[in-house]
């Protein structure tokens, strides 16, 4: 179902001719725009991840121990949210440009898993853990449950960044001889490049 949607997305805007490009093709093959999108996605990490790590470091009791957590959050998180909006917008456009390539990529799938985990952690932190924030707001080290949540946040974002970078490498691309688990996870049989076992036999 997801793949069907992505196939539709990849063909969206395509003209009647066999070689007419879709909007997705136009974006992926643009001279500079795709590069600007990709560059913006990477560079806005400085704003997004750079500031969220500092907020998490405060929750872990590593920095700004004399400054209430609420002050650090109120002043820094707007910058983080701004960075996140840029990252989500550019990330969505990048996926739109090459939807099936990402769909059949194990690193992209792992990235999405940890993105979801990071957002669940944000929701849990915001709605379940911070209800008594006034009690620990000014403490140099917040309670253990808050620190655990901050640690999960840092770990998730590091993994999201790591897997995001690995997408550029073709180690596990469909169409190459791959172990069974990789062919299964990436659903290579349904990809345009097909699935090959480690001996190079089509599956």
């Amino acid at each position: 179902m997801i793949r069907d949607f992505l196939v539709w997305m990849a063909k969206f805007g395509k003209g009647p001719g066999e070689y007419d490009p879709s909007w997705s093709d136009l974006l992926a093959s643009s001279l500079n725009f795709w590069g600007l999108l990709e560059g913006t996605h990477v560079l806005s990490l400085m704003l997004f991840a750079g500031t969220i790590f500092i907020v998490d470091a405060r929750l872990l009791g590593l920095v700004f121990k004399k400054t209430p957590v609420s002050v650090v959050s109120d002043r820094i998180l707007p910058l983080t949210v701004f960075g996140m909006i840029i990252m989500v917008a550019t990330g969505a456009a990048l996926v739109f440009a090459k939807p099936l390539l990402y769909y059949h990529n194990v690193w992209f799938r792992l990235k999405v898993v940890f993105l979801i985990a990071a957002f669940i952690n944000i929701v849990v932190m915001h709605y379940r853990l911070q209800w008594n924030m006034a009690e620990w707001d000014a403490l140099p080290k917040p309670p253990a449950k808050i620190q655990i949540s901050a640690f999960i946040s840092v770990a998730c974002w590091i993994l999201v960044i790591t897997f995001g970078r690995f997408i550029a490498y073709d180690w596990y691309n469909c169409g190459k001889p791959l172990p069974a688990w990789a062919n299964a996870i990436e659903e290579c049989k349904t990809s345009a490049d097909g699935a090959l076992d480690l001996k190079g036999n089509p599956l």
Partner: protein, 276 residues
């Protein structure tokens, strides 16, 4: 004539060609992607601390605390970011030396790195440590760093196929000024910028056809200069007239502005290495 390192240092070509066959390049090569992640994480730490410290000098961000408190808490992280980015950069560079040696964007990146280090250690850290005050030696080094940064921008501008990466620097500058401007200045600035973005889209998609590169290039460059002019004008107005960041002088705010942008330029040149 290009501006790649090979044009300035042709005598080291053989040495560069062998770098990935000897220590440490040979050992790094199989783990290139993992070291690249280390480079990106270092950039994130450096970027995050640079943004917070320099924005504080400009009068944005964690303004509840004096700049010296931010310095006390973030200086170690900033050092870690700079050391991390230089160390991982040298290591992945040694495993990918020939590519960098022939890249014009790499020249801009290296000039940006020098300017970034000078601005970080002569402006960002001393000015925040002294609650916005900048001594005469720091000012001289700061202006030197600014001049080198502008030289790096000039190099980036000359780097064929990579120079669209300068839009990252212009966009970052535009956002910083948007954060720093106040009241009516901010509203007028935002309106002018949105109007210019719309005008650029009309010019580059309707007036000039999307595949007419001969005419698109000068139009885009013209808009780039116009954006820079509006951004700098608003930055000067904000630095001189705004009530934000009273601890720092307009010169220090200007240098802090450059101290963020220099890392954006260095990172942008690094990213556009891959596209050219």
């Amino acid at each position: 004539m290009t501006i790649a390192p090979q044009d300035f240092f042709p005598q080291i070509a053989d040495w560069v060609a062998n770098l990935d066959d000897i220590f440490p390049g040979k050992q790094i090569k199989p783990w290139f992607a993992q070291w690249e992640v280390g480079h990106i994480l270092s950039l994130i730490i450096l970027g995050g601390t640079s943004i917070l410290l320099n924005l504080r000098l400009i009068g944005v961000g964690l303004t509840d605390e004096p700049p010296s408190e931010l310095h006390r808490n973030l200086r170690g992280w900033m050092w870690a970011g700079v050391l991390g980015i230089v160390t991982t950069g040298l290591l992945i560079g040694s495993a990918n030396a020939e590519r960098l040696y022939t890249s014009e964007a790499f020249t801009a990146k290296m000039i940006g790195l020098v300017a970034g280090i000078i601005l970080t250690f002569s402006v960002t850290l001393p000015a925040t440590k002294n609650d916005g005050a900048l001594g005469p030696v720091s000012r001289i080094f700061g202006i030197l760093g600014l001049a080198i940064f502008l030289g790096g921008v000039g190099m980036f501008l000359q780097a064929k196929l990579s120079n669209p990466g300068l839009w990252h620097v212009i966009s970052a500058a535009a956002l910083i000024v948007l954060f720093a401007a106040r009241g009516l200045t901010r509203i007028i600035y935002l309106g002018v910028m949105l109007a210019m973005i719309a005008a650029q889209q009309v010019m580059t998609h309707i007036v000039v056809k999307a595949d007419d590169y001969a005419h698109l290039d000068p139009v885009n460059k013209g808009f780039a200069w116009a954006f820079v002019a509006v951004i700098l004008l608003t930055a000067v107005i904000s630095a001189v007239a705004s009530g934000r960041g009273r601890e720092a002088s307009p010169l220090t705010k200007g240098l802090a502005f450059a101290a963020i942008l220099v890392w954006v330029m260095t990172a942008a040149a690094g990213r556009w290495l891959a596209f050219a």
